[in-house]
Structure formats: structure tokens, C-alpha cells
């Protein structure tokens, strides 16, 4: 166990560096241990994942001189899910002179996360964010610029300043290609070795001479040949992204998964705040049962688009029946419900607030689309105000994407949107150094339980992934590795490696031998439906209890009745999906369990029993001001709960208020 964790009566606090918030990170860096250049070459680091977090970490560690092994599922590191991020990345540059500062970015992030994140980590994030923008510009990332040649900004939900940097609607793509280029340079130099079309299937722990278990490698499957391979390293970094695909339908890429996190969890690492998942308010609504994923329409659209539903139920009904067109509804018959309910933030309220407000209107019978599960996002007003060209320059590619999918032109008729699962704040627990509760095992990016508390603000995931990968981990991991320089490279013939591989072999054989009647996808869809209905935007004690029962049933069905064609000795996509689903079943269960434990509403976790009279989330700081850390105890038992106490030394906690 990570020795920074001292648990008493199930509760612990995490040591953070001394000093004022603004001094902590500087203090840490001045006193931490470093590894000298000659020793770096002797140390191997495995980085699993090539998204913003993984690619930036692998590149930076390679530049420092470590010997890096970098893994990804896709055929190229450039295809990691980060590529799909549209809207932008935050930093407190205050280029717009609108009153931004590191403290304000920190405060907005803490408040946006509904006071469920660790202050010192969040401050550090806000502090290094400015360096990210400098770094990316130096790499040649073509951020949007003003006519004077300086960088442009836009505003995003949950903030009153314009601090978001963007590259058209393709910010994630450009940032990832920047990190990928830095990574490619290291591959060329030989400091990073890439393993693409590889999937990590377990982390390997080996006891050191003092009996302390340390992460010393992974087992990965070569997805082309089907072969299982063993890899040693002095430290392992998990940068495998979020687990939103537990819902089957999400905005995540098809291969996004929660497996690496579950593997770490099963080896003893804490899984923290699994129930904190984010529902994004602006996605293209579901259209059919064959649907494979949901497409996000960037939140930046809420800058200029106005969200509404009809004021009159009969109009909503006529719209659903196709008897009325949205453009035929007069302005005075439109209910701009976000502007009505939240005058100070209007259409730019945080995501959880916007999502629930949409659900509330649809539940009340004002929803549109033939399903009644959609609201309008209208650009008519922006086009009147700014002209079509300006709107096209800002959102052209998003409009094109919408039109290709829905077959309607958003310049002429309002878009239809509905909330969908998008991001997971929960994940592998980490301390200030981004080290998990297992020594030598680190987690960065969306895979960790992150700096976003119970809710992430827009444009802050890209910021966090790159902060972790470029500027935090390359420092903190050295504080660990400095003590490992005497450790020789271990043989992968050690019994720990052999056993880990054998366990996976057995699991795969068992799966292939079931030869039941159900396809992997059909079971995954069933799980997704349970998650959406019971562990989605609004949860209750009853719905969560039901979810626990249903997920157990689906798990049983999976292990008894799944059918996987083919064998394990070659490429087998159905087998890959089955292995991921096996882990999603565990993630889903943990989410429901955690949601049931947390008898409050906060951020992305909304329990219907806990709301104000106006329907806003009601936190219970007296009882739940902690990060819920779940530890695995075997197949037949529920995991054990440990609580990381969150103390707020520098911020006063208030009920979030976006009204005035």
C-alpha cells in the first residue's frame, strides 16, 4: 500500500506540500527527489494510453531520458479518444483582460466540481494551465487567432470570463496531434517504443525486498496476433481514459473502456467516486435501436445558440407528430427555460444543471423530436445578430456534422439536442503525486479520479490531461523513481508475471467455452439501459438498489450465455469486446453502489431525494465531504469503503448558485 495513506477508522487524509495554495507546487518541486541523467536511461516506464495524458507523459518522459514503453489499442497513437474533443481548453492567461487569474480558474473548478475535489491538486492544475498553451503553440498547434495575430478565446459553461483556447471545433484533435508529434519525435530518437494495437489486460505487482508490493509491469494482448505478452517496467502509468461506455451509448469512442482501471482495482488500487459521471447536455438525440454511439455537439454552441422548448403542450405535441415546424413557433411561444431559470448564466450554466433542466422539461411533456426526448438549440438569433458568415466561421464544421447525421440544416431550422453520458469524473484514486494506492502505479488524465470533483467544467479535461502528462507526472514520478535506481530490470519469467498471464489465459478460455446464445453487444446494450434508467441523470435509492440486482443478473447471463466466435490465437474483435464488457459490469456495479452510499446530490450525482425546493442539487457537506475510495475484496463480497476526507482550507463552500 502507498505509504502516504494512513487509514484510521476507515478515514484518511492525504498529505500535500506545505504553504499557501500558491506555494505548494513550487515547494514540492524544490524539495522532491530527482533522477540524474545517467540513471534515467536505466529506468523503464510503461505508459498505457496515447491520449492527451498518455502521449504528453510518454513524450516528456522520453525527452527527460527515461526508457518509455507506450501502449494503445488503436492502430496509431493519434487516434486516441482525445482526438474527438471539440470545444477547447482552459487557461487563466487573462489575454482578454476580463479579470481572469489562476485563483479564479482554481475557484471556478472547485465550485464547478461542487466541492468534492482536493484543493491543492486543483490549484496546481490552474497554475500549470498557462504553460500548456505556451507548449502547444510552440509545437505548432494552430489555435484560433484574432486579426491582430494574437490568440482568441471563447467562453464556456460555468465561467464568467473568456478563457477557452480553441482550434475551430477540433481542439482535441489539434492538441493531440501536438502531443503525438512530440511523441513521434521521441519514437524517432528511440527513447519511446510504441506498441499499437495492444491492449493491457493486467498490471503485475512484485514484492520488493521489504515486502512492499510494487507495480512492475503489465500483461498485454497483441490484438493482431492474439498473443499475450509480458512487459517489465520500474513504474506503470495508466492513461487509459474514462469508463463512460458502461452506458453502451455515450459520446466516447467505441474502444474507450474501463478495463485498465478495473484491473488496477482488482489488484488493490482504490477506485474513487465511481458514481460521478457527467451527462452532457448537447448531444444529438437517439434515433434508433441499432444506434452504436451518440454524437456530441460542442458545448461552445451554447455561447451563441439559445435553448428552448415550446411554452404550450399542444405545440410540443404537434411538433412530435410532425404537424408543426419549429420555425413556425413564434418567439413569445418559446420557453427559453435556462435563461428563465438562471438569469445570471443563462444558456451557459454548467453541464449537469443544463442536462437536468432539459430532462425536467421533457418529463413535463414539452420535449420535441418524435420521441419527445429532445430540446431545441437555435441559431436564428445568432445569425440575425452576427450574420451567417460569422456563425459559419465559428461552428461550420459542427453544423456540417449535424447535417450529415440528422439530414437537417441547422442554419435554417433549430438543432435538436438531448443529454448523453460523456465523461467520468470518478476513476482510479491518486494522491498529490498522481500515484495510486499501489506503489509505482500512477494514473493520469480521465482515468484518475481527477481534479473535477463531482462535475467537470467544459474545456477542463483537455487541460487536466495535458497538465498531468506534460507538467505534473514527469516531476512527481521522479520522486518515486529516485528510490528505484538500484532495482535491476526484472525478468518477466518471474512467477508473478507467469501467474498474471495464466490468469488471463484461463479467463479467455472460459469466455470462449461458454458458447451461449447472446452476442456481446446485446448484453452490453442491456447493461447500458439499466445504467441510463437507474444510474443516470436522476437517481433514487430504489433505482440504485434495482440496478445492483439487475447488473448482477446481467453479469450472470454474460458468464453463462455469451457467444464469442473465433479463437484466441488470432485477431478476435468479439473477444476484445467481451473482455471489456466483463469489466464494465464491475464498473456499473461500483457506480450504483457508490451512488447508493452517497446520500446527497452533488455535481453529476443527482439523487432525487436530495434537492432544494427549486429542484437544485442539495449537498450534505457534514456527511459526504469525502472522496469515496472502494477497495476490492473478492468476487463474492462488496468492496470496502474508505473515505478520503476533504478539508477546505482556502475556499468557503457555498451551495452552487448560477441564478444571480
Amino acid at each position: 500500500m502507498n505509504d502516504t495513506i494512513k487509514i484510521e477508522n476507515g478515514v484518511f487524509t492525504v498529505p500535500v506540500p506545505d504553504g499557501q495554495l500558491s506555494e505548494k507546487w513550487t515547494n514540492y518541486k524544490s524539495h522532491q527527489k530527482l533522477v540524474n541523467p545517467a540513471n534515467k536511461r536505466r529506468l523503464d516506464v510503461i505508459v498505457v494510453g496515447t491520449g492527451l495524458a498518455g502521449a504528453s507523459a510518454a513524450a516528456s518522459l522520453g525527452e527527460l531520458g527515461f526508457n518509455v514503453l507506450n501502449f494503445c489499442i488503436q492502430d496509431s497513437p493519434r487516434r486516441a479518444h482525445s482526438i474527438a474533443a471539440q470545444g477547447g481548453i482552459n487557461a487563466a492567461k487573462n489575454y482578454q483582460n476580463d479579470g481572469d487569474s489562476v485563483y479564479r480558474l482554481f475557484y471556478d473548478t472547485i465550485k464547478g466540481g461542487d466541492y468534492r475535489a482536493r484543493e491543492a491538486n486543483v490549484y496546481r492544475l490552474a497554475e500549470v494551465a498557462n504553460d500548456i498553451i505556451d507548449q502547444c503553440v510552440a509545437q505548432g498547434v494552430p489555435f484560433a487567432r484574432e486579426y491582430g495575430g494574437l490568440l482568441d478565446n471563447r467562453s464556456f459553461g460555468g465561467a464568467q470570463v473568456s478563457r477557452t483556447f480553441y482550434a475551430k471545433g477540433q481542439t482535441g484533435q489539434q492538441l493531440l496531434l501536438g502531443a503525438y508529434s512530440a511523441l513521434s519525435r521521441q519514437v524517432h530518437k528511440g527513447s519511446v517504443k510504441l506498441y499499437h494495437r495492444y491492449e493491457m489486460l493486467d498490471v503485475v505487482l512484485v514484492k520488493d525486498k521489504n515486502g512492499i508490493e510494487r507495480a512492475r509491469g503489465i500483461i498485454a494482448r497483441n490484438l493482431v496476433t492474439g498473443k499475450l505478452e509480458r512487459f517489465f517496467a520500474h513504474a506503470v502509468v495508466i492513461a487509459t481514459g474514462g469508463y463512460g461506455n458502461v452506458f453502451f451509448l455515450s459520446t466516447n469512442a467505441m474502444a474507450s473502456n474501463g478495463s485498465a482501471a478495473v484491473q488496477c482495482y482488482r489488484k488493490g488500487a482504490f477506485f474513487a467516486n465511481p458514481c460521478f459521471a457527467q451527462i452532457h447536455p448537447t448531444c444529438i438525440p437517439v434515433h434508433g435501436d441499432y444506434q452504436s454511439k451518440l454524437t456530441l455537439m460542442s458545448e461552445s454552441l451554447r455561447n451563441d445558440g439559445r435553448i428552448w422548448v415550446p411554452k404550450k403542450k399542444e405545440d410540443a405535441e404537434a411538433l412530435r407528430a410532425g404537424k408543426l415546424k419549429p420555425t413556425q413557433i413564434k418567439d413569445e411561444d418559446r420557453d427559453f427555460y435556462l435563461e428563465r431559470r438562471y438569469p445570471a448564466f443563462g444558456n451557459l450554466v454548467p453541464r449537469d444543471v443544463a442536462s437536468r433542466a432539459a430532462k425536467e422539461r421533457c418529463d413535463a411533456g414539452f420535449g420535441v423530436n418524435n420521441t419527445g426526448l429532445a430540446v431545441f438549440l437555435d441559431f436564428k438569433y445568432a445569425i440575425e445578430r452576427l450574420g451567417r458568415d460569422a456563425v459559419e466561421a465559428r461552428y461550420g464544421n459542427l453544423f456540417q456534422m449535424y447535417e450529415k447525421i440528422v439530414d437537417e440544416n441547422p442554419y435554417e431550422t433549430p438543432m435538436m439536442i438531448f443529454p448523453a453520458i460523456h465523461y467520468t469524473m470518478g476513476g482510479i484514486w491518486v494522491d498529490y503525486e498522481l500515484q495510486t494506492s499501489i506503489k509505482g502505479l500512477f494514473a493520469i488524465g480521465e482515468a484518475n479520479f481527477s481534479d473535477h470533483g463531482a462535475n467537470r467544467l467544459g474545456a477542463s479535461a483537455l487541460m487536466q490531461g495535458l497538465a498531468d502528462g506534460y507538467f505534473v507526472l514527469p516531476y512527481t514520478i521522479q520522486n518515486y523513481l529516485a528510490d528505484q535506481i538500484q532495482e535491476p530490470r526484472l525478468s518477466t519469467e518471474l512467477p508473478e508475471f507467469v501467474k498474471a498471464e495464466q490468469d488471463i489465459k484461463d479467463k479467455i478460455t472460459r469466455l470462449l467455452n461458454i458458447k451461449g446464445k447472446r452476442s456481446v453487444d446485446s448484453l452490453h446494450k442491456e447493461l447500458g439501459q439499466v445504467m441510463w434508467d437507474n444510474v443516470g441523470m436522476a437517481r433514487t435509492e430504489a433505482s440504485l438498489k434495482e440496478a445492483l440486482v439487475r447488473i448482477k443478473e446481467i453479469k450472470k447471463e454474460f458468464w453463462n450465455n455469451v457467444y464469442i466466435p473465433g479463437d484466441s490465437a488470432s485477431m478476435n474483435v468479439e473477444l476484445e469486446k467481451a473482455l471489456r464488457l466483463a469489466d464494465f459490469l464491475d464498473v456499473g456495479y461500483l457506480m450504483a453502489l457508490d451512488g447508493l452510499n452517497r446520500n446527497e446530490s452533488c455535481g453529476g450525482h443527482f439523487r432525487e431525494e436530495y434537492q432544494t425546493e427549486e429542484g437544485e442539487a442539495l449537498r450534505h457537506d457534514d456527511k459526504y465531504s469525502y472522496a469515496a475510495c472502494w477497495q476490492y475484496r473478492g468476487e463474492d463480497q462488496d468492496p470496502e469503503l474508505f473515505k478520503e476526507d476533504l478539508t477546505y482550507e482556502f475556499t468557503v463552500r457555498a451551495q452552487r448558485n448560477y441564478k444571480s
Binding site: 479518444h81 495575430g149 489539434q174 510504441l194 441499432y290 452504436s292 439530414d407 466466435p565 488470432s570
Partner: protein, 251 residues
């Protein structure tokens, strides 16, 4: 408006890189025209799994036109008949009832087939590794606004940088040339002040790598730009040619 169509798909099946492949034809009924092309293949695969047959292997991930993972030659066109979309953004409303749709993998010497419709595009990564970057380490960088960049230049660099590395350009080219892909990266960095220092070396290294990996020569047929899902323009190839000649001239 949504409707359903019945179609036949003629799909290239090949168990592995070294074995012989062939077309198999499958019938699919009641496919919604609102379904995406890849959702249609999902339905086919679900059907195959039910019949205890091997599903069709194909590459895909984001399913929203940005990761560059999906491919497919559909009725003779990379990424299918629609303009400015990737295969994952193509919808069944572009096809009609009773149509026979032929689906093949990218066919290009530098992209060997792995299985069925899946090919190995690692060659594109290798070209980038040869020099498709600005050589800066993490940290110690001047303020992002220290160097103003004229908006038109930044915008043009962004257009070039939109390339998703899908490989349709090389697959569409009768010579199997990767020029459009290489040009997009060289052009992006040549347009920006950050890219100036290594400008000549970059063009030479990337072109040399492209030749080494077995991509063909560019004879300006323009097939690449016509099929590119991101509308990367031939202007960038012209710029690459200037960059390359300029670099050679300096030698």
C-alpha cells in the same frame, strides 16, 4: 424522412495478411436509412454472430469523422459516395432499396491487409516520426502571445492540420502516393513561425521516408484531394513541392 431499405453487400473477406481473400455476399433487410454505414455493418456482424460465423473485421473508433480510424472502399470510392465525410459519417440514406454495395479494404502497397477490411497504416506514423514536428521539449517556452501570427496564415495552417491521417489519399491514388498526407503536415508547419527553423530538413526527411516505405510518385492526378474527407487542398502539394525543391537547392 426515415425509411427502410433492403440491400446486398459484397464484402472482402480475408482471414489474415498472407492468405487469399475473396468477396462474400450478404443480404440485409429493413435497414433504416437513418443508420450510419458502420451501424449497417454492426447489424451484419450481429447477424453473422447469431449464425455462429466470424464477423467482418473493420477499423473504426470515434464514429464521428475525426480519429481517422475508419476506412473502406465503398462502390469504388474511399469513404463512399458522399462528399467530405468519412465512412463513419456516411449514412444509409445515400443508398437505395435493392442496391448492391461493394465493400473493400484500402488497396495500397504501403498498407498491407491485416484481416478482412482492416489494413496496417503504420507507414503514416513512420513518415511523421521522420520529421513531422517542431523539435521542442516540454517546458521553458516563451509566452504563447510572444509571436503574433497573421490570422489568414493561422487559418490556412489549421486547414492543413485538419488531416486525420486516414489514408484515403494514398488509397485513391493510382500510384499509391502519400503526397497529400505529407503535404498537409509540411504545409501546416511551413506556414507557422514555429516551423521555420527545421523547414528544409523536415520536407526532405518526410519525402525520403515516404519514398522508402513504398509509396508511389505523385503525378498530379488530383484523385487524393477529390476523395479526401477533410478537403485537404492540392495547394498544399504545390507548397510541399516548393519546400522540397527549395531544400534540395540549398544542398
Amino acid at each position: 424522412m426515415e425509411k427502410s431499405i433492403n440491400i446486398k453487400v459484397k464484402v472482402w473477406r480475408q482471414a489474415g495478411p498472407k492468405v487469399k481473400g475473396m468477396f462474400e455476399t450478404y443480404e440485409l433487410n429493413n435497414i433504416s436509412t437513418d443508420a450510419s454505414f458502420l451501424e449497417m455493418i454492426d447489424i451484419l456482424n450481429e447477424q453473422l454472430v447469431k449464425e455462429h460465423k466470424e464477423p467482418v473485421a473493420f477499423d473504426h473508433d470515434c464514429r464521428e469523422g475525426i480519429c481517422g480510424m475508419c476506412s473502406l472502399y465503398i462502390n469504388g470510392h474511399p469513404h463512399g459516395p458522399d462528399q467530405e465525410v468519412t465512412t463513419c459519417q456516411l449514412h444509409m440514406r445515400k443508398f437505395h432499396d435493392g442496391q448492391v454495395i461493394t465493400i473493400e479494404p484500402w488497396r495500397s502497397r504501403a498498407f498491407p491487409i491485416i484481416k478482412d477490411l482492416m489494413v496496417d497504416r503504420n507507414a503514416y506514423d513512420k513518415i511523421i516520426q521522420a520529421g513531422g514536428y517542431v523539435s521542442v521539449n516540454t517546458g521553458g517556452i516563451p509566452d504563447a502571445n510572444a509571436i503574433p501570427i497573421p490570422k489568414p496564415k493561422a487559418d490556412e495552417a489549421m486547414d492543413a492540420a485538419s488531416c486525420i491521417g486516414c489514408g484515403a489519399c494514398a488509397a485513391a491514388c493510382k500510384n499509391g502516393s502519400a503526397m497529400l498526407f505529407v503535404a498537409a503536415k509540411v504545409s501546416q508547419l511551413a506556414l507557422l513561425p514555429q516551423g521555420q527553423v527545421e523547414r528544409a530538413a523536415r520536407a526532405k526527411a518526410m519525402v525520403a521516408k515516404m519514398d522508402e516505405l513504398g509509396f508511389g510518385n505523385c503525378t498530379n492526378t488530383g484523385a487524393c484531394a477529390a476523395e479526401c474527407p477533410k478537403s485537404v487542398s492540392l495547394i498544399h502539394i504545390a507548397r510541399l513541392n516548393r519546400e522540397y525543391l527549395g531544400a534540395k537547392f540549398k544542398d
